[in-house]
Amino acid sequence: MDEIKLYTIIIFTENKPGVLYRIADMFLKRKINIESLTVSEIESQEMSRFTIRVKGDHLAVEKITKQLYKIIEVVKVLEKTDEALVFKELALIKVATSNAEKMRGVEDIVRMAKAEIVAVGSTYLVIEKAGSEEDIDSLYALLKPFGIKEYVRSGRIAILK
């Protein structure tokens, strides 16, 4: 068995109904769990770009890459580790800030973490952070003691180096 690693699989497809279903089915069939998934339209309007993050050994990832080509709508599949990519994820974190002291505490962390406050309520702040999955994880850990009211992440987007 190869080493288990995180891979980013980038799939270019025709923009047709049901493609997401077909792709998800491929991963289901091979019992590969999807860590994150983003889908977007690309330059030419008729195409979609799927960015899928999976954990697995190299052979398993290579096999699914080849099988993805069996989907008629799939045009190109790339399978990369982080070294070959520029990547980002976006997170929105709504933190409880019941008093001024807490608010200051959160502000300090946000500054340190190069995140941004994008909304202010009487009892909360909404923080936006773009960065690697690890950056977001560590920011989350720092904010957790304050009380997290809501939390959402976009899934990875990536571009080849």
Partner: protein
């Protein structure tokens, strides 16, 4: 451009694709298409099956004989779900098929309407491609795409789900075959460098071994296989689905690979120094325990499907190509050679297999008739020139082992899915496709009861399939496993069967029964002489076992003779 209804467009599209026969069953959501078919009935032969699974397998049988996509036409909901097993079967055995299913009105989709089922959803994992047509104007383009996808590259089943409104609406018809599809351009030409490396390996090999599979028949590469084998003196073993690609009596043909294959090819797989695998996919039934499979050999693997390369067995020289193109390129580069000693090694194993298994299986001196004796006799009587369509179980392995085909496309069975009930409808499709050939369905008593209703189809269309029931009154294959691996605990494998002869006659298909050795030869003669569909029930040894056998999880070397 001609104006017509969507249903007429379906007919015109089928004609454009050269379809002359379809297998189907009508119902509410496909009625407009059936209505159009009525006007086309002298151009397109429709065979009315008795269950949609039968339509699917018949389409498969038709495709396996012609190489062209078989067509099945059924209604929505239960009609479509009845087709599912056959679609999965075609997917695993790479059989080109176009399934047309009716669907509720587009305006009712997702409303749990009468006989609505999400057929595209259900069949996505078991089709090469599928699509729901909701507008009549889409029909020509989508049909062209469907036939192109089903029949090219690694063939497979395609399903088109047509909503009822699309069948009724008017549209303007124009057709363009084999459309360009950005994401689908199967590569058929081999890479020259890979071919050169493969040739070099083969030229230096001392114990080369060629493994052929269904891909050889699909690509019509039989001649190329023979040329390479003869030029370089390479023994050839076949998978279950590759059988009949090389005549059984060819001096370099060494038999079947895998679980119930022959002794020599299994054991010697682990002694070959170079393996040339063509159009086969190293299925677990062929390889046995993978970690001990052909580790010593350099492997050249030719397949048109890139996903098959390095899927189960890592190859040293993967070649993505059409089998015929690759072998034709290869034959030019290989040197004349003979590997006499090596081929003799296979023959030595053959002798042992003959003494320990084949002799008493095919020539028992007393007791009940054996399956092998019946099939061997059939093989002789037909000179190996019939098309044998077998069902699934012990009789399937016996048919594969003891029928000795001399012509190509002569052994049709459900390999990948192992679908009981396959043989009768598939034989109907095969006979319709090749009426000039004798088509014989070899079926177990259990399997026969899974699609027995298709006897009515035979009778109605007077399709002269000959049926042989090898009746051991058991789900024999399962019983064998229970005997060998579950302490002879025969859990629900005993069958109280109907009177097959009476049932068959009830369907207006001639039938007789042989249960004594003395009757067998004459009964077979009468069956073969018949010009109509006919059935022969042969009562065989109840607890016969199939050997050799590579038990599940064992290595090919551990193949057992008893």
């Amino acid at each position: 451009m001609k104006k017509m209804t969507g249903s007429q467009a379906v007919m015109e599209s089928l004609l454009q694709e050269g379809v002359d026969t379809i297998f189907g069953y009508p119902g509410g959501a496909i009625m407009p298409v059936y209505n159009a078919l009525y006007d086309y009935r002298d151009k397109i032969r429709h065979i009315l099956v008795r269950h949609e699974q039968g339509a699917g397998h018949a389409a498969e049988g038709y495709a396996r004989m012609t190489g062209k996509p078989g067509v099945a036409l059924v209604t929505s909901g239960p009609g479509a779900t009845n087709l599912v097993t056959a679609i999965a079967d075609a997917m695993l055995d790479s059989v080109p098929m176009v399934c047309i299913t009716g669907q509720v009105l587009a305006s009712l989709l997702g409303s749990d309407a009468f006989q609505e089922a999400d057929v595209v959803g259900i069949t996505t994992p078991i089709t090469k491609w599928n699509y729901q047509i909701t507008k009549a104007s889409e029909i020509p383009e989508v049909f062209a795409k469907a036939f192109h996808i089903a029949g090219t590259g690694r063939p497979g089943p395609v399903l088109l789900d047509i909503t009822k409104n699309a069948q009724i609406e008017m549209m303007e018809f124009s057709y363009k075959k084999a459309p360009q599809i950005v994401g689908y351009q199967p590569n058929t030409a081999p890479n020259d460098r890979q071919i050169a490396i493969a040739a070099q390996l083969l030229n230096n090999a001392e114990r080369p071994f060629m493994l052929i599979g269904h891909g050889v028949l699909i690509a019509k590469a039989e001649k190329a296989v023979k040329e390479i084998a003869e030029k370089a003196g390479i023994p050839v073993g076949s998978t279950l689905l590759g059988l009949s690609a090389l005549p059984a009596d060819h001096p370099l043909f060494v038999g079947m690979l895998g679980m119930h294959g022959n002794y020599g090819p299994n054991v010697l797989t682990n002694q070959a120094d170079v393996i040339l695998a063509v159009g086969m996919r190293f299925d677990d039934r062929v390889t046995g325990r993978l970690s001990d499979y052909a580790k010593q050999a350099k492997i050249i693997h030719i397949d048109i499907d890139p996903a098959e390369l390095n899927k189960n067995v890592l190859s040293d020289v993967p070649i993505v190509a059409d089998a015929k193109e690759a072998l034709t390129a290869l034959v030019a580069k290989i040197k004349k050679n003979a590997h006499k000693k090596w081929v003799e090694q296979f023959r030595a194993f053959d002798k042992e297999e003959f003494e320990k298994v084949i002799r008493h299986e095919t020539h028992p001196e007393e007791g009940e008739i054996t399956m092998a004796e019946a099939v061997a006799m059939l093989s002789k009587k037909t000179k190996g020139e019939a098309v044998v369509v077998s069902d699934v179980g012990q009789h399937q392995m016996i048919a594969a082992r003891y029928y000795k085909p001399e012509k190509t496309d002569s052994y049709i069975t459900s390999g990948g899915l192992g679908t009981m009930g396959f043989a009768l409808p598939a034989a109907i499709g095969a006979k319709v496709a090749a009426p000039e050939r004798e088509v014989i369905a070899i079926i177990g008593d259990g399997s026969f009861q899974m699609n027995i209703q298709e006897l009515a189809t035979l009778a109605q269309d007077d399709i002269a399939v000959k049926i042989i029931i090898l009746n051991n009154n058991y789900l024999g294959m399962v019983r064998q496993w229970q005997q060998l691996f579950f302490d002879k605990r025969y859990s629900f494998v005993d069958l109280k069967n109907p009177d097959f002869v009476a049932v068959s006659r009830g369907f207006y298909v001639d039938a007789e029964k042989a249960n004594k050795r003395e009757q067998l030869s004459k009964a077979l003669d009468r069956l073969l002489a018949s010009t109509k569909p006919a059935l022969l029930e042969i009562v065989v040894k109840k607890e016969g076992n199939i050997f050799p056998m590579v038990p599940t999880g064992a290595s090919v070397e551990e193949v057992r003779l008893e």
